[in-house]
């Protein structure tokens, strides 16, 4: 178990998301930055899809109620263990009574805190993700607050006591690659030109539902209203004011604004780490290229697992089978 001493700005339980119910109007939710979430999970040896905590800008203070292994990846929010700075992107053993906290944000927006065994809140519709708007999943369907106690699951894998490649989210201007469509034909040449050549600033009205941008308005041919259809993660919606909105994890599954493009999956983690004031540029790539980039990225993530597996052995002594973990003595 872990106890929340302070919830920070917005800390929620998230996994990969609630799939299979978009057709019923149910939001997917899930980790905004799936790459950092997966990295933290793999570092502690969790099975894919175990729930972790997503902390936003100001991290939580957490007291451990039992010995465990944890790892933090994503934004650098100033991770500390018992008041002393410790590294992100690597697994740490910790004892009951230890305190995890965050001093101050250095870069990025969202940090993922994974514990060995995962956050074992009951799944709702097949997912432990918190859907803040519908008030379901996670811990009582809401953000974490002081006094909350969360159960940890039984550890199934072996933690990887190494260091995963750290991502840097500090660049002030980020290039997000996009695949054009499905409604890019609704925009004028000038509108498409503005979108692909302009620079857009992230506004404070950004949240888990959408990252709202401000810059040169993207001009439509005949308005931005379309007959309502599906919205994908990373869809770039252009409402009537012409200012792009990146539709993120808590987006509604359908909507009625034209979508000029979709941020590629490999660059969605970068989008998830944007904070107000950051600037973005868009660059068009083909769908085929986007998919190759995603597959390459997934392969890199799988390597964390491969290295983790290397420290585990199965030996047979006198006919008895033993699983042995090899890890550094602390």
């Amino acid at each position: 178990m872990i106890r929340i001493i302070s919830g920070g700005m917005l800390t929620t339980v998230q996994d990969r998301g609630r799939f299979g119910h978009m057709k019923s109007g149910i939001t997917v939710s899930g980790a905004m930055d799936l790459r950092s979430y997966e990295t933290a999970n793999r570092l502690v040896g969790n099975a894919e899809g175990e729930a972790a905590l997503e902390a936003t800008l100001i991290g939580p203070v957490i007291e451990l109620c039992a010995d465990t292994v944890f790892a933090v990846a994503g934004a650098d929010l100033g991770l500390q263990l018992n008041g002393a700075p410790v590294s992100t992107y690597c697994a740490h053993s910790a004892k009951a009574g230890d305190r995890l906290s965050f001093a101050a944000r250095k870069s990025g927006c969202r940090a993922y805190i994974a514990f060995r065994g995962g956050i074992a809140v009951p799944p709702v519709m097949g997912s432990r993700s918190t859907d803040l708007k519908a008030g379901i999943g996670g811990h009582m369907g809401r953000k974490l607050q002081s006094g909350d106690v969360l159960p940890l699951g039984t550890a199934s894998g072996v933690p990887f006591y190494g260091i995963a490649e750290k991502e840097d989210f500090s660049a002030p201007v980020k290039t997000l690659r996009v695949v054009m469509g499905p409604q890019d034909d609704r925009f004028t040449d000038a509108g498409i030109g503005a979108f692909l050549q302009g620079e857009y600033a992230v506004t404070p009205q950004s949240d888990r539902m959408g990252i709202r941008l401000g810059g040169t308005a993207v001009e439509t041919k005949n308005g931005s209203d379309i007959i309502t259809d599906g919205i994908c993660m990373g869809a770039v919606q252009i409402p009537s004011d012409g200012q792009p909105i990146l539709m993120m994890a808590d987006r509604q599954p359908t909507g009625g604004y034209a979508k000029i493009a979709n941020v590629i999956s490999a660059d969605l983690p970068l989008a998830a780490q944007l904070i107000p004031g950051d600037r973005v540029r868009f660059q068009a790539v083909s769908v085929q290229e986007a998919q190759q980039l995603l597959l390459a990225q997934r392969e890199k993530l799988a390597n964390i697992r491969a290295q983790s597996a290397a420290s585990r052995y199965r030996v047979t002594v006198d006919g008895h089978v033993y699983d042995i973990e090899v890890r550094p003595v602390e």
Partner: protein, 245 residues
């Protein structure tokens, strides 16, 4: 033109393809959406994560680790080419009991006044049609219904209510609908159903599917209370039948 020729396949990022039929809202277009959705689901193509039907399009979400764009596009074209031969079961009609007027339908008198009819007439007209569920969205389980008689159309409220109780049945312009969860809204409320259209803890969290039909039926306060008690226990089952034609 064949069905395949009127469908357009559009890139919707690297993990979805939008299959778009004619760009208008009409029952015959939505029927194509339903047929395609069912035919595609029946194929069990590995890598398809979710199929989301809407008014005139279907969003096919997929995982590029299992199937890439070019292969999926080909598979979708194949399903479209054989859509005429696909056996699609008739749609389900759901009977939704409604207590009209009173506290449950505070705007019934406005709608009656606006349409120049009696409240009884509004109830009779509203509960006589079978409404097509074009799609679900907006909130969990919110059905976008089509087919309401223009005679009982009414404008939205000038100032939306901050909280509308779950189960409220309303009219906005020529649309009618049900609020599955308590939410803000500007529709004219004419009644309320005790049926839970959405319950996250139920095995099937949302009752009605896109392509189904809803038929409202008027009940009195005693019947409403009886159904509400059953719905609370999870034992109430709506009457359903197969849509004819």
């Amino acid at each position: 033109m064949t069905k395949m020729e009127i469908a357009k396949l559009k890139v919707s990022g690297d993990s979805a393809i939008l299959v778009e039929f004619e760009n208008r809202i009409a029952p015959e277009i939505n029927r194509l959406v339903r047929s395609f959705t069912m035919a595609l689901a029946g194929k069990n193509i590995p890598g398809i994560v979710e199929i989301v039907p809407s008014y005139r399009a279907v969003t096919v979400h997929y995982d590029p680790s299992f199937i890439l764009f070019d292969a999926l596009r080909k598979a979708l074209k194949d399903v479209l080419a054989h859509l005429d031969e696909a056996e699609i079961p008739p749609a389900t009609v759901w009977e939704i009991p409604v207590l009209y007027g009173g506290e449950e339908g505070p705007d019934l008198s406005f709608v009656a006044h606006h349409s120049g009819r009696s409240e009884e007439d509004v109830i009779r007209i509203h509960s006589s049609a079978e409404y097509l569920v074009y799609m679900l969205g907006f909130t969990p389980g919110f059905p976008y219904l089509g087919g309401m008689d223009a005679a009982i159309a009414a404008p939205r409220l000038k100032a939306p209510r901050l909280k509308i109780p779950a189960g409220s049945v309303g009219i906005a312009g020529q649309q009618t609908g049900i609020y599955p969860i308590a939410s803000p809204g500007g529709w004219q409320l004419i009644g309320r159903t005790p049926v839970k259209l959405y319950d996250p803890m139920r095995a099937e969290p949302v009752l009605v599917q896109a392509g189904d039909y809803i038929k409202f039926t008027a009940v009195d306060a005693a019947e409403y209370a009886r159904i509400a008690a059953e719905a609370e226990k999870g034992s109430y089952r709506c009457r359903t039948w197969r849509k004819e034609g």
